[in-house]
């Protein structure tokens, strides 16, 4: 069954690739922004984990709630 899933993924790569690229850009942007700010709301390592492991919602939550006073 696993091979079926892998085959399906490779067959549909043109459709799924943009989705993955968008999520990776989103994650990278959040990480760059995190590295550049001095202070965040809550500990930085928590945001790193959230951004990397929580798909889409992690970076968005960071951008909306994580950034303390804009500098």
């Amino acid at each position: 069954m696993m091979t079926g899933v892998v085959q399906m993924l490779t067959e549909n790569l043109p459709v799924l690739l943009p989705l993955m690229v968008i999520q990776i850009i989103l994650m990278a942007t959040a990480l760059i922004s995190l590295a550049r700010t001095k202070q965040t709301r809550g500990p930085k390592w928590m945001w790193v984990l959230l951004i990397i492991f929580v798909n889409t919602l992690g970076p968005v939550a960071y951008f909306i709630f994580g950034r303390s006073e804009e500098g």
Binding site: M1, N12, V15, P18, L19, I22, L26, V60, F63, I64
Partner: protein
């Protein structure tokens, strides 16, 4: 001109805090996730263990217009939430930190201050929604079938009016409260009450802004703009202007008090 200056300053902030990257990306994700998961539903069911033996479950493929409407309804829920979240502090946060007083001490009219902020936020959100909907159109074209681009372009145009209206509600609430959380709450509550009232008195409120996106469905199916949509757009535009005017009034009053 001062209006242009404030507008530019708002855009500088949008560029600095990465909104120009993440808002369009998130809107694209919102727009494409439903058409994609609908298309792959049989595969997903198969991959997660399949249906029980003998179960017959016919999954109809939605027509292209319906698949595209999924993106619009996704924008109407998650998109609106993001809109309210990123605009909730646009004045109220500045009031709290004192930046608003600094800006308004200079000969800047309250009207330009409010409308420039409204225009900057709306530009970002309209561009994001347009990019998202075009991405959705690409996938609909690829996976579900033909949907004329003229209908999609018209839908984007009318949806932009809805976004202008939504940001004007949020900025109106911004003029009222200093607490971003309250602005968010009042914005979402106003929307909920509006859609509730519209559905209860649907007979009389055919042109309520809350029905704008439901008229988009017939636009996408038939390809021409229903008359009701024109009238709804007029009402929406009028209410947007009214909200901006009332917000300016309120802002003037509150800065005289402080």
């Amino acid at each position: 001109m001062q209006w242009i200056t404030i507008y530019k300053k708002e855009w500088l902030e949008i560029l600095r805090n990465y909104k120009w990257i993440w808002v369009p990306l998130v809107f694209i994700l919102f727009c494409i996730i439903d058409p994609l998961s609908t298309y792959y539903l049989p595969v997903i069911i198969e991959a997660t263990g399949g249906l029980p033996e003998g179960a017959v479950f016919d999954l109809p493929t939605p027509p292209p217009s319906e698949a595209f409407m999924m993106s619009i309804s996704q924008l109407n829920t998650l998109g609106v939430l993001v809109l309210a979240l990123i605009t909730m502090g646009s004045i109220s946060g500045e009031k709290k930190s004192g930046v608003a007083e600094l800006v308004l001490v200079k000969p800047v009219s309250h009207l330009s201050y409010l409308t420039a902020k409204w225009a900057a936020a709306s530009t970002l959100l309209i561009l994001s929604a347009a990019i998202g909907l075009i991405a959705s159109w690409y996938y609909v074209q690829l996976l579900f079938g033909d949907l004329p681009f003229t209908a999609v372009a018209a839908a984007i145009f009318f949806y932009s009016l809805w976004i202008l209206f939504l940001t004007s509600i949020s900025l109106f609430m911004n003029a009222w409260s200093r607490i971003p959380g309250l602005v968010l709450f009042f914005t979402l509550a106003a929307l909920m009450i509006m859609s509730l009232v519209t559905s209860v008195f649907s007979k009389y409120l055919a042109w309520s802004p809350a029905r704008l996106s439901s008229y988009l469905r017939s636009l996408l199916i038939t390809g021409d703009v229903p008359a009701d949509l024109w009238y709804t757009s007029l009402v929406t535009a009028a209410m947007t202007l009214l909200l901006l005017y009332a917000g300016t009034k309120r802002l003037k009053k509150s800065s005289m008090l402080s």
